[in-house]
Subunit: 334 residues, 2 copies
């Protein structure tokens, strides 16, 4: 048997326990043939998306444990489904790795991916495995949603309220801590957990789509300033954000000492930090009251409103200024 | 606007012309949002598969022109759909590349991919773009097939006849020529075309599935000896192959000079050479006569039969010997 086939066998075996679902749902044929076969049910649409997660670009070999790499590679891909309001269902894994990572590193990677799959109730249905000098991960995800209910980025209208979930900038803070090797202290657990094992708002995304509460929605993966500008550009609108309302990560006191000096303050992390995977969505003010019944309602913050003038403004104590798009860009030369 | 967004814009623009289909089919929402949205039609199953195509592993920067890389990355992924009998429909492209390849290299890559998409009548519906020191391509493909008609690898039974399409080993010969820089001569065109721009048997695959003629099917991507052993293993059977019946590539006379000495002879190339993307399938002998009406019937060759004893034998003038699995393995240390 080829080494590749043995490796595929190990991954397929792990995938059987990766399944977060008991019922077969639409799945007719999973891993092991040329392609997986799905029998879609009537009245449902499918959302499909893919995401690359590459060593030295998206994660660092000496900073990120293998189980976090496995966990995050699935969660960040599924986040795009949640941002349409779809329920995550299936995924395919393209995994290229050096032979030195086919042992314990791969086991830990698959354990992290299994944890994410159980949490999201997703099932691995296929993939491709090959050798590469650096770890290179591609995840394709599929989710189900009632026909016609997907929430795009294009529906925001002037006057709509802008909402985000959770505290923004947590993942950025976690990364800075991990890079300084001061993260694993128990009292900083919250800070690095948000970076290594992000939680996403599956139930909220589904609820917002099902009840047609969100007029536009996306996830915040590259930072609020970047992703809000993408949403506004797709909807051909602008936005006014109130700095005071932006729910920023809290930098622990222990980290305010000069020895640990961080690159950014709390608001900067919240505005530009990537990797949070919270939801960013807009709501017609007449539907605002419905949000009280939303899952995770306590995690919601209204940070501003959509404007017809196509620019993004930040209002703080000093007045109003344009909010520059400073989120994460893989092609940036910074 | 971020550099990444500009690049995505360029790829999306190319994708609009990449579309090989005029009707929207099941597609509700394509490139530009968090995920693509499909509305599957009743009575159809979906086949889905993904494939990695990596610089220095699957293609060589100094040997393979960018348009061939674009062309092959889609065709080889679609080949897995054809091997189930499905009609290729949609694809998602994950593309990681160094900044130096975002200019003319990317244009040529997209032109090659466009050529493949038109030929296969496939449409790009999503993707992900990022930076990487080496080009790393992931393609996810989706195809449609009548419910329950997909042909797996598991249905071969003792006594079934074994068929392949086309001449085997052509892509391997082409690669050896390209590596020796003697390929581009006009009189060797056929030899390198098979390697750079393979054709696949879309109509035949669909026909074999629709008419339930094939009992098991897969594509030959890693070489006949490797892929036949995978099909037999999945079906829990063995096979007997007649060397004389294996349709081998013809090595041109000009290449028989000692200066050009090739690593393998014609039969070895046919048995172990990868990258051909022909179909390998089995047929109950009582259904054999139906094959006369198959598309591409002239390209079919019956090379042996399935046996109940789980070993793969090669019969030639010297007698009968086991056929060792010597196809391409990315983890091989050869």
């Amino acid at each position: 048997m080829l080494k590749e086939d043995k490796l595929v066998g190990r991954i397929a075996k792990a995938a059987r326990s990766i399944s977060g679902r008991r019922d077969r749902g639409a799945l007719r044929l999973g891993i092991g043939d040329d392609a997986a076969i799905l029998s879609p049910q009537g009245g449902k649409d499918w959302a499909i998306s893919c995401d690359a997660f590459l060593e030295q670009i998206h994660f660092l070999a000496d900073v990120h444990p293998a189980d976090s790499v496995g966990y995050k590679s699935l969660v960040r891909a599924a986040s795009d489904l949640v941002a349409m309001g779809a329920a995550p269902r299936y995924f395919l894994l393209t995994l290229a790795l050096p032979e030195s990572r086919t042992g314990s590193w791969l086991d830990a990677f698959l354990a992290g991916m299994r944890r994410a799959a159980r949490y999201l109730r997703m099932q691995m249905i296929g993939g491709d495995t090959t050798k590469n000098p650096r770890v290179s991960i591609g995840v394709t995800v599929m989710g189900e949603i009632s026909r016609g209910h997907a929430v795009t980025r294009t529906g925001a209208r002037a006057g709509d309220l802008i909402y985000v979930t959770g505290r923004l900038g947590g993942a950025q803070l976690g990364l800075e801590l991990l890079r300084r090797k001061i993260a694993r202290a128990r009292n900083l657990r919250g800070a690095w957990q948000a970076h290594l094992y992000p939680r996403i708002h599956v139930k909220l995304g589904e609820w917002l789509a099902r009840n047609q509460v969100a007029s536009a929605m996306m996830d915040i993966s590259d930072g609020l300033s970047t992703d809000l500008s993408r949403l506004c550009s797709a909807s051909r609108v602008g936005a006014r954000i109130r700095a005071k309302e932006v729910p920023s990560v809290k930098i622990p006191k222990a980290l305010r000492r000069p020895a640990h000096r961080l690159k950014s303050d709390e608001l900067e992390m919240a505005l530009h930090g990537g990797d949070d995977y919270g939801l960013l969505f807009t709501v017609d003010p007449r539907r605002r009251a419905l949000l009280r019944r939303a899952p995770d309602a306590a995690s919601l913050a209204c940070i501003g409103e959509i404007t017809s003038k196509r620019q993004i403004l930040l209002v703080d104590d000093d007045g109003t200024r344009p909010l520059r798009n400073q989120g994460w860009d893989p092609f940036s030369t910074k």
